[in-house]
Amino acid sequence: MAENKEKLLEMYTTMVRIRTFEQKAIDLFAAGKFPGFVHSYLGEEAIAAGVCSNLRKDDYICSTHRGHGHLIAKGGNLQLMMAELFGKATGYCKGKGGSMHIADVDLGILGANGIVGAGMPIATGAAFACKYRKSDSVAIAFFGDGASDRATFHESLNLASIWKLPVVFICENNGWAISNAQTSHQNITDISDRATAYGIPGVSVDGNDVVAIAEAADAAIERARKGDGPTLVECKTWRHRGHFEGDPAIYKDPKDQEEWLADNKDAIARMEKKLVGLKYAGQDYLDKIKAEVREEVEAAVQFAEQSPDPEPAEVLTDVYTA
């Protein structure tokens, strides 16, 4: 895979797209453009980009409260996403969902989720549907280190294992569950060790190495497509920001923070270096990508800003399917 220039550039672009979108979202939230919670994905871009680089449109993902990155990587439309953050009628959810509930069922995106750990059973069920229909589609559940302590982690991995479902559990271990360092909420180092409890493979990879992630995910996804069942993949990374925007994250050691944000750790900086090193791209080309993405994001903001609010009467619709 390290040899596949096109794929590497695609993953790079996806990471840049996520980072740019997230930086913009942070600024817009700080400027009071929309309410609610914004959980930034900054620093974790490699995971969504690496994993989703292996997915087809007919594969499913279940995302989290920190979901923008997954949606973008699965092909989500930036304009519809941004409009949703703004709560506009043109947003993915007509303004009814907001950041924590963006979804695009047609793209197999079964939603961000406000409930920690809630995506795992849903992905398990989507994977069941894939198997039931005898397709070779798969489902991905993204979730955090904190979520790996929840009820749903245990029940989902066990069921997926016993039913041999085509689902890959991607644990984004960013070191934190709000203010709790991983060491303070679980007594293990590698969350992938939890795979033992279900008799399924578990691997841990550098969560800031998009190629390593893509490779590990590829193996797990291929295993799933072949009917060999689920895999637990842990990606070790770092949450650049506070838990949500507005959290100053004083509980972080500034040294750790500095280390993780440095170019030799940051996923995007590392990828740039690699692309340049492999001569797959010059810096100017990468800058061009960034500029294009910036424009995309600006266009999304413009779309959102110019979109109308929903009609108040819309509060009553979409509760039931007729």
């Binding site: 499913y60 279940c62 947003g91 993915y92 959810c93 007509k94 303004g95 009814k96 969902g97 509930h101 979804a103 695009d104 069922v105 047609d106 079964l110 939603g111 989720n113 406000g114 409930i115 809630a118 795992m120 059973p121 849903i122 992905a123 398990t124 069920g125 989507a126 994977a127 069941f128 549907a129 894939c130 039931y132 229909r133 489902a139 009820a151 749903t152 245990h154 029940e155 989902s156 066990n158 069921l159 016993i162 039913w163 619709t317 979409d318 509760v319 039931y320 399917t321 007729a322």
Partner: protein
């Protein structure tokens, strides 16, 4: 029409839809060869095979949670929770996921799933295996809640529930499983949201469902002998509720007694009483009475359990107080 029990009727409803629609499957604890704790799914494994009737581990959260994902991905799961008492183990999956997905996604999802679960006291199963918790589910917009009281309704509502494009909680009563009655063959559908007058009468309206509907019918026979002619209205589906039918009946009788097996406080009877007080105040010639279980957990001892369960005597007494 065939004669069958309530349990057979539920099963027949599932069978009809499983034959018609290959997307319908059953998952739950011991639902396959074992046929479920009460035998409701017996034979379906043999008929439809291991890919459509599947045992799960003891994992209520993922039983309901996986159904949400499977439904959103296009299937029509029937998830069984062995006792309604265990719904506390999967209320997030039901209340925050199944119920809200469509709305949160701006209408762009469909979650056609049925959660089948038995309720009710009467077998000495005590506090954690005897509850009736319907009002929990009715308090969650996005969910429909069904409680059949006869074999025919059990079948017709099951088919309607499976065909419905929304999450439906289908609550069957353990004490009714053996009740026999006429049941139409084939694709018999009872629409959701249509009440049924199970007995006509002019003096008082009794709204009751599930096992209490049967007890109310028995009470009505007694009352008739004493000259009180009760109309027995079975809402059948609590959400959607056939408000109009209730209001119409109360307009006729001027009196309302609501009977349910749930504990009184915040039971669904309160909702019905509130609706009638709000929208049918002028029809009322007397206070609205509720006959319910007391606000206690369910005791084990048969002596206590009998004191707990609403019965004909209490229904009759409540009705008479209105005259």
């Amino acid at each position: 029409m065939a004669q069958m029990t309530y349990m057979e009727a539920i099963r027949d409803g599932m069978r009809v839809e499983m034959k018609r629609d290959p997307g319908v499957y059953i998952a739950g604890e011991d639902v396959a060869q074992f046929g479920g704790c009460f035998g409701v799914t017996a034979g379906l494994y043999d008929e439809f095979g291991p890919e459509r009737v599947m045992n799960t581990p003891i994992s209520e959260a993922v039983i309901v949670g996986h159904a949400v994902g499977a439904a959103a991905a296009g299937l029509r799961p029937i998830a069984e929770i062995m006792f309604v008492d265990f719904m506390g183990c999967c209320m997030d999956e039901l209340g925050n996921q199944a119920a809200k997905m469509k709305y949160m996604f701006g209408g762009k999802a469909k979650v056609p799933m049925v959660v089948r679960t038995p309720c009710g006291a009467g077998m000495g199963a005590a506090a954690q295996h005897s509850q009736s918790l319907e009002s929990w589910f009715t308090h969650i917009p996005g969910i429909k809640t069904i409680m059949p009281s006869t074999p025919a309704d059990a079948k017709g509502l099951m088919i309607a529930a499976i065909r419905d494009d929304n999450p439906v909680v289908y609550i069957e009563h353990k004490q009714l499983l053996g009740l026999a009655g006429e049941v139409p063959e084939g694709e018999y559908v009872v629409p959701l949201g249509k009440a049924d007058i199970k007995r006509e009468g002019a003096d008082v309206t009794i709204v009751a469902w599930s096992w209490m509907l049967q007890k109310s019918l028995a009470a009505a026979e007694q009352l008739a002998k004493e000259g009180i002619n009760a109309e027995i209205l079975d809402p059948r589906t609590l959400v959607p509720l056939d408000k109009e039918a209730i209001l119409k009946s109360v307009a006729k009788t001027g009196r309302l007694v609501i009977v349910h097996e749930e504990v009184k406080t915040s039971g669904y009877g309160g909702e019905i009483a509130a609706i009638v007080t709000e929208e049918g105040f002028d029809y009322l010639d007397a206070p609205i009475k509720r006959v319910t279980a007391p606000d206690t957990p369910i005791p084990f001892s048969p002596v206590l359990e009998q004191a707990y369960i609403p019965n004909e005597e209490k229904i009759i007494k409540a009705v008479k107080q209105l005259f």
